[in-house]
């Protein structure tokens, strides 16, 4: 597959700028819908009815021979394709996040795909794989997806309703035990339960616990001191 744009080479953007783009999309969607939009953010509707992009499901793994492919975007054809394996009931949170991630590429990176090479291209301009998550553009699309599906204020409000206004700091008791016991990471388990509670309270029903945990950490509502304590103990 011909590479049209390297996701490592997209311009650096501050988190605030990406958050602004996601908020802006939501505000424009609210104007289109004529009502305030609360979680769960209707990402399928935003893609198909507001952005007028084609949304499809396909066996991308077989089509491109890539085992870890999740989604792809054809900028020129205005088409987002999600790998059909994500339709599995157990992966729905991940599927919606992948949709929002591809919308992130559309909103943040599509201007990088308007040159002659992109016009000649017949394949997808953006292919998103689990193994590519560290590329700058992929990180930006992830950050956009999190800001879109889990806007800061509703997350803070849901968190406050369940846990109050102070952030939760997790001290992993086992982590300071002898190294042979390190396999049991209680902090991780607790973080998942905290994320689940925020998802339920805020009705973020199209978001996975993992995505919410990362968002809570990003917003400073969940702090994991395990690493610091491990470092101090070693």
């Amino acid at each position: 597959m011909k590479k049209i744009c390297d996701m490592d080479s997209v311009r650096w953007m501050p988190k605030e700028e990406i958050t602004f783009l996601a908020s802006n999309l939501l505000e424009n969607y609210e104007e289109y819908a004529g009502q305030t939009v609360n979680p769960p953010i209707p990402i399928e509707t935003i893609i198909e009815r507001f952005l007028n992009l084609r949304l499809e499901y396909d066996d991308l793994k077989a089509r491109f021979g890539l085992a870890d492919i999740l989604g792809a975007t054809w900028i020129k054809e205005k088409r987002i394709v999600i790998d059909r394996s994500l339709l599995d009931e157990d992966h729905l949170g991940r599927m919606f996040f992948t949709m929002a991630h591809e919308v992130g590429h559309w909103c943040v990176h599509r201007q990088a795909f308007v040159g002659p090479a992109a016009r000649r291209s017949r394949g997808p301009q953006i292919v998103c794989r689990e193994s590519g998550a560290r590329a700058r553009g992929e990180w930006q699309a992830d950050y956009f997806a999190a800001a879109l599906l889990m806007p800061e204020m509703p997350v803070r409000e849901a968190f406050a309703e369940v846990f109050g206004f102070k952030p939760i700091v997790i001290y992993n008791q086992k982590s300071i035990a002898p190294k042979s016991l390190f396999w049991l990471d209680l902090a991780w388990e607790h973080a998942g339960e905290i994320a689940r509670a925020v998802i339920e309270k805020g009705r973020f029903t199209n978001v996975s616990k993992t995505a919410m945990r990362i968002r809570l950490e990003e917003l400073g509502l969940l702090v994991n001191y395990t690493c610091e304590r491990l470092a101090a103990a070693s």
Partner: protein, 126 residues
């Protein structure tokens, strides 16, 4: 109901009906009709041939569309019509061929339908 455009593909018609007449997402329509979202996605993008008659009927119902028109775009014939032809294997094909030879217009068909309907109520045709 406004007739569906004659030259468009089955997939594009399904997609347009879904987006313009309903609030269904791909997943919700697929669930309503009893097929997988991936299959519906392939149908909408014409990567698979039109589905079975049973699915066409369910789609027409879910999308508020005329099933006969959808059958036409799917290059299929409604099962009840096939049954009618089978029950009258000579007269129905002969009648349809006669209609074709005489290039009946939409108005002609409408008048014939009205005549048949009036016969059913025991009235004289016009």
């Amino acid at each position: 109901m406004k007739p569906l455009h004659a030259k468009r593909t089955f997939g594009s018609i399904i997609r347009d009906l879904r987006l313009k007449r309903t609030q269904y997402s791909l997943r919700k329509l697929a669930e309503t009709v009893g097929i997988s979202p991936a299959y519906l996605s392939r149908l909408e993008s014409d990567r698979d041939p039109p589905p079975s008659e049973e699915i066409v009927i369910k789609m027409a119902r879910a999308l508020g569309a005329d099933s006969d028109e959808l059958f036409s775009h799917a290059n299929k014939v409604s099962p009840d019509l096939i049954k009618i032809i089978k029950n009258h294997p000579k007269s129905v094909p002969a009648f349809l061929r006669l209609a074709k030879e005489n290039n009946l217009s939409e108005d002609d068909w409408k008048r014939i339908s009205e005549y048949v309907a009036s016969k059913m109520f025991g009235k004289k045709g016009t």
